[in-house]
C-alpha cells in the first residue's frame, strides 16, 4: 500500500515510490498544456572508500533521505525506493539547468554532514508529454549506474526526453485590405520557427471571424487584426475574446493607422498584447511575434 508521509515539519511531499508512476503521468499530461518542463533526479547515496559495499552500512540510505527531506522545497516531491536504495526527487517546474543548481547546493550541504559520504545523481528532464514512465525509469537507473565509474558526487544527464513537442499555433489575420492581409500571410508562412507550426486563416471582418468557430479550440491563438473592420470592428472582437473563459490563449496584436496615445492606451487597457501602428516595419513585427511565441515556453 502506497503511503504519503509527513515529516516532522509537517511536509507531505515525501511519497512512497509506488506513487511515482501516477504522479509522473499527471505531470506529463500537464506538460502538454502548461508547456512547463519537469525534472526527475535519481539519487543514490555512497560512501567514500567502501567501494560498492556501501550496502553494508544500513544507516547510509536513512541518513541520505533525512538529508533530502531537509533540503527539498514545498513544491518538490520526494519518492523513496528503499529496496533499490534510490531516492527520486521530482522538481515540477524546473528544467535541467535549475536541477543542476539544486544538486550543486545539496552537494555542498551534504559534504558538511560527513566527509566520507557522497551521492550520485542522474538528471532526467521531461519536456514532452510522450515520455513513458518505464523508459524514464530505465534511463534514469542506467545513468545512475554509469556514475559509479566516476568521481564522488558525479552527475549524469539523460537527454532523451528533453526534446520539446512541436506546438501548433492558430493564427488569424483579420484585415479588410487584401494586400496587407496577403503580406502578413506571406510573412508568417516564411517565418522560421523551430518549435511551432502555424495554422493560418484570414478574415475580412470581425463578424466573419467570430462566427467561424475557428477561435473556439484550445490552441494558443495569435490574432492580428486591424482596429477598423467592417461589421464588427477590432475593439469589439478584442472585448469578445477577452470575455471568453480561456482568454489567455489569445495573443492579440491590434493594428491601426492611429498613433495617438489615447488609442494605444485604450487598446492596452482592453488587454491587447501589442499595438502596431501602420505603417509598421515588417522585421520589427516579425521580431515581436517571435518574442511572444518564445515566451510561451
Amino acid at each position: 500500500m502506497a503511503q504519503i508521509t509527513k515529516d516532522n515539519q509537517g511536509k507531505i511531499n515525501i511519497l512512497d515510490g509506488e506513487l511515482l508512476p501516477v504522479i509522473f503521468s499527471m505531470q506529463t499530461a500537464s506538460v502538454a498544456r502548461s508547456k512547463m518542463t519537469f525534472t526527475l533526479l535519481f539519487m543514490s547515496p555512497q560512501q567514500i572508500g567502501v567501494a560498492d559495499d556501501w550496502k553494508a552500512d544500513p544507516s547510509t540510505y536513512e541518513v541520505f533521505t533525512d538529508f533530502l527531506i531537509e533540503q527539498i522545497r514545498d513544491s518538490d516531491m520526494l519518492f523513496l525506493f528503499p529496496t533499490e536504495k534510490v531516492a527520486v526527487l521530482l522538481l515540477p517546474f524546473s528544467g535541467e539547468v535549475e536541477a543542476a543548481f539544486a544538486v550543486e547546493r545539496m552537494k555542498k550541504n551534504y559534504a558538511t554532514i560527513d566527509p566520507y559520504r557522497h551521492f550520485y545523481t542522474a538528471v532526467v528532464e521531461i519536456a514532452n508529454s510522450h515520455a513513458q514512465y518505464d523508459d524514464v525509469w530505465q534511463n534514469g537507473m542506467t545513468a545512475l549506474a554509469l556514475c559509479h565509474s566516476q568521481p564522488p558526487f558525479a552527475i549524469e544527464a539523460v537527454d532523451w526526453h528533453k526534446e520539446r513537442e512541436i506546438e501548433t499555433i492558430k493564427v488569424s489575420i483579420i484585415e479588410p485590405d487584401e494586400t496587407t492581409k496577403m503580406t502578413l500571410r506571406i510573412l508568417l508562412e516564411r517565418m522560421s520557427l523551430s518549435r511551432f507550426t502555424l495554422m493560418i486563416e484570414t478574415y475580412h471582418d470581425g463578424h466573419d471571424f467570430l462566427t467561424s468557430r475557428w477561435h473556439t479550440s484550445g490552441h494558443t491563438h495569435l490574432v492580428m487584426m486591424n482596429d477598423i473592420l467592417p461589421r464588427q470592428n477590432g475593439v469589439e472582437v478584442l472585448n469578445e475574446l477577452r470575455l471568453m473563459p480561456n482568454s489567455d490563449k489569445y495573443i492579440i496584436f491590434m493594428m491601426s493607422d492611429k498613433q495617438s496615445e489615447s488609442n494605444m492606451l485604450y487598446a492596452y487597457e482592453k488587454d491587447a498584447d501589442e499595438y502596431i501602428v501602420k505603417p509598421f516595419n515588417i522585421k520589427l513585427l516579425e521580431a515581436k511575434i517571435k518574442r511572444v511565441l518564445k515566451r510561451l515556453r
Partner: protein, 351 residues
C-alpha cells in the same frame, strides 16, 4: 389644339429618345468600367503574390506580370499603394521607386495631365505616398501653368509634394499660395514638410499669415517637437487668444515646460479654455504651487476645468489622497463632486 398636341407629343418623344441615348451611354460606360475592374481583379488575383514577393524579398516578377496594359498598371499601383500604407520598411519602398522609375513613369505622367481632376489628384497623392521624387519637375510645371486652374485639393497636394521633397521654392508657395489656404490645409502641408522647409517656416513665423501661424503651432504639438518649445512659450505672450490657446495645447502635447512660472497666470485667465489648458499643463510641472493652483481650479465655474483639474490632481504623486482631502475638507460642493467622480472612476477601472 391638335397642333399643340402634336408639338407636345413630338417634344416628349424627343425627350424620351434623348433619355434613352443617355441611358445607353451610361450603361455602356458602366459596362466598360466594370469590365476594366474585372480585368484589374483578374490581374491582381494572378500576380499579387509575385508583386508582394518582389517588394518583400526582391524576387523578380514573372515575365507575364510586367505591366503592358492599363489594368496591369492600375493593379500594380493599387498593390504598391496598399503595401506602402501598411509597411514602412526602407528596402521595399526603394523597390517601389525603382520599378516606377523603370516601368510606370508614363502611366503617372499621363494621369497628371489628365483632363479629369480626380485622376490628377490621385496621381498627386501617389507621388506623396510612394515618395516618387522623380515627378517633382512635373508638379512644378503644373504649378507654373498660367492657362490651367486646378482645384483647391490639387493645389494643396502639389504644395505638399514641394514641401516634402524640399524643393527650393516651396516656401514661397506657402507664403503666397495660388488659392486661399486654411489652417487644415497648412497643417496637411507642414505635416509632410522636410525639416529644412519647416525650419524656414518657423524662422519667418512673425511675418506669416495667421492661418499658417496656427498650423505651425499645431504641427509642433502633433510632432512633439520639443526643440521648438521656445517658439511656443514666446507665443503665450501673443495678443491673439487663438494663438495662446493653441500654443498651450501644443505644449501640453509635448509634455515639457521650460519656464514653469509663466503658466501660473493662465490659471487665473478670464477665458475658460486657457484655464483648462493650464490645468492640463500643470501635470508636467513638478512644483508645489501647482497643487494649490489645481485646488483653486477644482472650484472653477466651468465643469470642463474642474474635471481636468481633478484628473491632473489624481495623476500627481499621492493624487488619491489629495482628492480624498478635497472630499473631507473642501466646502465647495462642485469640487467635492468632481473629486468623488474621479476616485470612483479609479476604482471602476482598477487604476
Amino acid at each position: 389644339m391638335r397642333g399643340l398636341i402634336w408639338t407636345v407629343a413630338g417634344i416628349s418623344a424627343l425627350l424620351i429618345i434623348v433619355l434613352f441615348i443617355l441611358l445607353g451611354y451610361l450603361l455602356i460606360q458602366r459596362t466598360i468600367e466594370s469590365r476594366r475592374n474585372k480585368r484589374v481583379k483578374q490581374y491582381k488575383a494572378q500576380f499579387v503574390e509575385h508583386w508582394l514577393l518582389y517588394l518583400l524579398e526582391g524576387v523578380d516578377p514573372p515575365e507575364g506580370g510586367l505591366p503592358q496594359k492599363r489594368e496591369a498598371y492600375v493593379a500594380i499601383d493599387d498593390v504598391f499603394y496598399h503595401y506602402c500604407f501598411s509597411i514602412s520598411d526602407h528596402l521595399p519602398r526603394k523597390r517601389v521607386r525603382w520599378f516606377v522609375e523603370n516601368y510606370m513613369v508614363d502611366f503617372y505622367k499621363k494621369k497628371l495631365l489628365s483632363s479629369r481632376w480626380d485622376e490628377r489628384l490621385n496621381a498627386l497623392h501617389r507621388i506623396t505616398d510612394l515618395q516618387l521624387q522623380m515627378f517633382v519637375d512635373d508638379v512644378r510645371s503644373m504649378l507654373r501653368r498660367e492657362d490651367k486652374v486646378y482645384t483647391e485639393a490639387e493645389y494643396v497636394q502639389m504644395y505638399v509634394i514641394m514641401a516634402k521633397f524640399d524643393v527650393y521654392d516651396s516656401y514661397a508657395y506657402l507664403q503666397n499660395p495660388q488659392v486661399s489656404l486654411n489652417v487644415f490645409h497648412y497643417t496637411t502641408i507642414l505635416n509632410e514638410a522636410a525639416p529644412r522647409i519647416f525650419n524656414k517656416v518657423i524662422t519667418h513665423f512673425n511675418t506669416s499669415p495667421l492661418q499658417l501661424k496656427l498650423a505651425i503651432i499645431d504641427v509642433i504639438g502633433l510632432k512633439k517637437q520639443v526643440t521648438y518649445i521656445d517658439v511656443l512659450e514666446t507665443n503665450l505672450q501673443s495678443d491673439d487668444e487663438e494663438i495662446r490657446i493653441r500654443s498651450l495645447k501644443a505644449i501640453d502635447q509635448i509634455g515639457f515646460v521650460k519656464e514653469a512660472s509663466i503658466y501660473a497666470a493662465f490659471a487665473q485667465s478670464d477665458r475658460w479654455p486657457e484655464r483648462l489648458m493650464a490645468a492640463r499643463i500643470f501635470l508636467h510641472i513638478p512644483n508645489d504651487w501647482v497643487i494649490d493652483a489645481l485646488f483653486d481650479l477644482l472650484r472653477d465655474p466651468s465643469w470642463w476645468v474642474r474635471k481636468r483639474a481633478a484628473e491632473t490632481l489624481s495623476q500627481k504623486h499621492g493624487g488619491t489622497s489629495l482628492l480624498q482631502d478635497v472630499i473631507n475638507q473642501d466646502t465647495d460642493p462642485y469640487a467635492i463632486d468632481q473629486a468623488r467622480a474621479i476616485l470612483a472612476r479609479q476604482v471602476e477601472t482598477g487604476t
